[in-house]
């Protein structure tokens, strides 16, 4: 009967690791290109609501962010627990919004200014009072393109 014989002595050669740096570099470049550095530290807690009719924000440079939420634990001692607006990395009031928008606007090329979108990142437990105030201020400043930040509702089919 024929038997399978183990080929002893013939050890396979070591796997060449010469291409390892190339693979790692490839991954590195991938992550370098997709990385978006978080430019402002959140001082308020924002849990965005869920929805299904979502639009993706395409150009990051044309978007400015307004956060509304309750201050984080480390800020509650000085800021209390009432809802606060955060613009950039500072606490602010509704009256600071025009200046904030203007500061963002001057960085955008003139021909693209009409496409500026304000992304409202608002905690889902907020009440509409403060949201209405912010919306009114945005309208007054003629910043009409607004995006209510939301995440895809779980269970709905992924578009």
């Amino acid at each position: 009967m024929p038997t399978f014989q183990k080929k002893r002595g013939k050890t396979s050669p070591a796997i060449s690791t010469a291409s390892l740096p190339d693979i790692i570099f490839m991954l590195l470049f991938f992550f370098m290109t997709v990385t978006v550095m978080r430019n402002s530290e959140l001082k308020v807690t924002v849990k965005i609501p869920e929805a299904t009719e979502l639009t993706k924000l395409e150009k990051k440079s044309l978007v400015n962010f307004i956060y509304i939420g309750v201050p984080n634990a480390q800020w509650q001692a000085t800021r209390g627990t009432s809802p606060q607006i955060q613009l950039g990395d500072k606490f602010a009031t509704v009256a600071d919004i025009p200046l904030f928008l203007e500061q963002h606007k001057i960085k955008v090329p003139e021909n693209q200014r009409a496409a500026i979108i304000t992304s409202l990142k608002i905690d889902k437990d907020m009440t509409m009072g403060i949201v209405s105030d912010v919306k009114f201020e945005l309208r007054k400043y003629n910043q009409l393109k607004v995006n209510y930040s939301a995440r895809m509702r779980a269970g709905d089919k992924f578009k």
């Binding site: 009432s82 949201v131 930040s149």
Partner: protein, 186 residues
């Protein structure tokens, strides 16, 4: 000049063995700092601000108006009836399309106006849910129309045809000044 002995032994190749380590280090740094979450949300166009708040009488046929009220207790009143959010989409669709030519529903989809009014005490979560339902009612209607007319989904149509459908079923949503009955979060 003194001749260096063993010149031939000096290799002029840089040792690339540590390159992988350096690349790994950078890779791990970028892995940690990357936030993959994309910014998504409900895109809304706010109405322009008008200086004088005088009442301008605009004659709107009452049958073309779909009023949605959300009070501070997050309850919905749709055309005078208490409604659940889950039923809102179908109600809105029926109103806009008016398939049975009912007397009290929109004359045509392009005439339909949705009026949304909330209280200052309404929760943002609920507001977004309501807004989402109204928007999805329009999305579904447009998709159904696209299917009927061009036998294609809205997303697969060229933008010119998408615009035709959007003009047939324009989304007109008017938001009234919010009322101030309920208690705001303090």
């Amino acid at each position: 000049m003194a001749k260096k002995s063993g010149k031939e032994k000096v290799s002029n190749e840089i040792n690339a063995g540590s390159m992988a380590d350096i690349a790994f280090l950078l890779l791990i740094f970028f892995l940690v700092t990357t936030t993959m979450d994309q910014d998504k949300g409900l895109l809304v166009k706010l109405p322009p601000y008008v200086e004088n708040t005088e009442q301008i009488d605009v004659k709107i046929n009452k049958r073309n108006l779909f009023t949605v009220l959300v009070n501070a207790n997050d309850q919905l009143l749709v055309r005078g009836e208490v409604t659940d959010v889950n039923a809102l989409r179908d109600k809105a669709k029926e109103f806009i399309l008016n398939p049975n030519n009912a007397e009290d529903m929109a004359i045509s989809p392009s005439k339909a106006i949705i009026s949304l009014k909330n209280d200052r005490g309404t929760h943002y979560d609920k507001y977004i849910a309501v807004y989402n339902e109204l928007k999805s009612a329009y999305t579904e209607l447009r998709d159904e129309t696209a299917m009927r007319k061009f036998n294609k989904h809205m997303d697969d149509l060229p933008s010119a045809k998408q615009d035709t459908i959007k003009n047939m079923i324009p989304m007109i949503l008017s938001e009234a000044e919010s009322t101030n009955f309920g208690e705001e979060r303090k």
